[in-house]
Amino acid sequence: MIVRILGEGQFDVPDAGRAALDELEHALNTAVDGQDEAAFASALGALIDAVRKAGSALPPDAFTSSDLVVPFSDATLAETKALLEEPGGERV
């Protein structure tokens, strides 16, 4: 599974790491929906750490697309919410 951290690059995360990421992402979703700035920052930090740790960084010339995309490491809650309103970010 390829995960991109915006502004940083892509990581190849083994499928075994998926469950842990899902759990961390859940915390991020909750923080976004609950407008909780502090929870957002810590959930985002934890998710990014997990991606970096579980995955191996792909070289910039891997030329492959990602399955999942993580916001910028220093993204704010407001910025992320605004981004999620853009086309393609619909919940479906």
Binding site: R4, E25, P60, S66, V69, E86, G88
Partner: protein, 254 residues
């Protein structure tokens, strides 16, 4: 749907336009390469913009710090002239500069972070440009039309995605610069108006008062020195002068 999947959808939507343009997958390779070059230029320009913004903040911080140092010195001068009121005023103004300086430092850190990120983005794009230049020719020569459809499609969407990422990084840096520029403009105005006692204004009010105190104490000192001089040499020299006709001009004695 989670944030990561939604983010992925947004990035895809941003880059779909590029893929739609080319009908022949081989053509899309050249188009992608062209876009990659343009993207690299854009990111490089953005690095330059961020660096300029950073320099401006540094300049303002230096000016503010110089003001704070000057006020500190004025407070010392005032105390040595027994003007505690002036010293207090100088220190109060100095204290008022502290939050402004702290704000500039925060802004500086943010801009420096953006700059660093964009530099890495530019380096990555450069690597992609170099690698893709040869890769696209190999792909064109190797793949049959059927293979090209999928293989090239995958490479092109990978490239589009990283360009989308770079584009978002540039936009983000630009947003930060824009919001900072408004504040930097306000700070420049504040510095220029003298509200922060502009450095380019050589004599501010505290300095004027200190100069005045210092000037009048100089006069006092000179006066005292003169009196001492006169007191010491007077009996012998000034005594006979009392009888001179100069008195008749109507001048009052000192």
């Amino acid at each position: 749907m989670g944030v990561m999947k939604r983010m992925s959808g947004i990035l895809q939507a941003k880059t779909n336009k590029l893929l739609d343009k080319a009908e022949d997958p081989r053509e899309s390779l050249d188009l992608s390469y062209q876009k990659l070059l343009e993207n690299l230029q854009k990111v490089r320009r953005s690095v330059a913009d961020v660096t300029t913004a950073k320099k401006r903040i540094e300049l303002q911080a230096t000016q503010l710090q110089a003001q704070a140092d000057k006020l500190q010195q004025q407070a010392k001068d005032a105390l040595s002239q027994d003007r505690e009121d002036l010293a207090r005023e100088a220190l109060a103004r100095r204290a008022a500069l502290a939050p402004q300086l702290a704000d500039l430092q925060t802004q500086h850190q943010q801009v420096a972070d953006q700059e660093q990120k964009l530099i890495v983005t530019a380096q990555n794009l450069q690597t992609q440009v170099d690698a893709f230049r040869t890769k696209k020719e190999t792909m064109k020569a190797t793949y049959t039309a059927a293979e090209a459809q999928t293989k090239i499609g995958e490479a092109v969407s990978g490239i589009s995605e990283s360009m989308g990422d770079a584009g978002m990084s540039v936009q983000r840096a630009q947003d930060k610069i824009d919001s900072m520029q408004a504040r930097a403009g306000a700070m420049d105005e504040l510095l220029a108006s003298g509200a922060l006692t502009d450095l380019t204004n050589p004599v501010d009010d505290i300095q004027a008062q200190l100069d005045q105190v210092s000037a009048s104490s100089t006069v006092d000192n000179d006066l005292a020195a003169l009196k001492a001089e006169i007191g010491a040499g007077a009996p012998a020299q000034l005594g006979p002068a009392e009888t001179t006709p100069a008195k008749e001009s109507g001048e009052a004695p000192a």
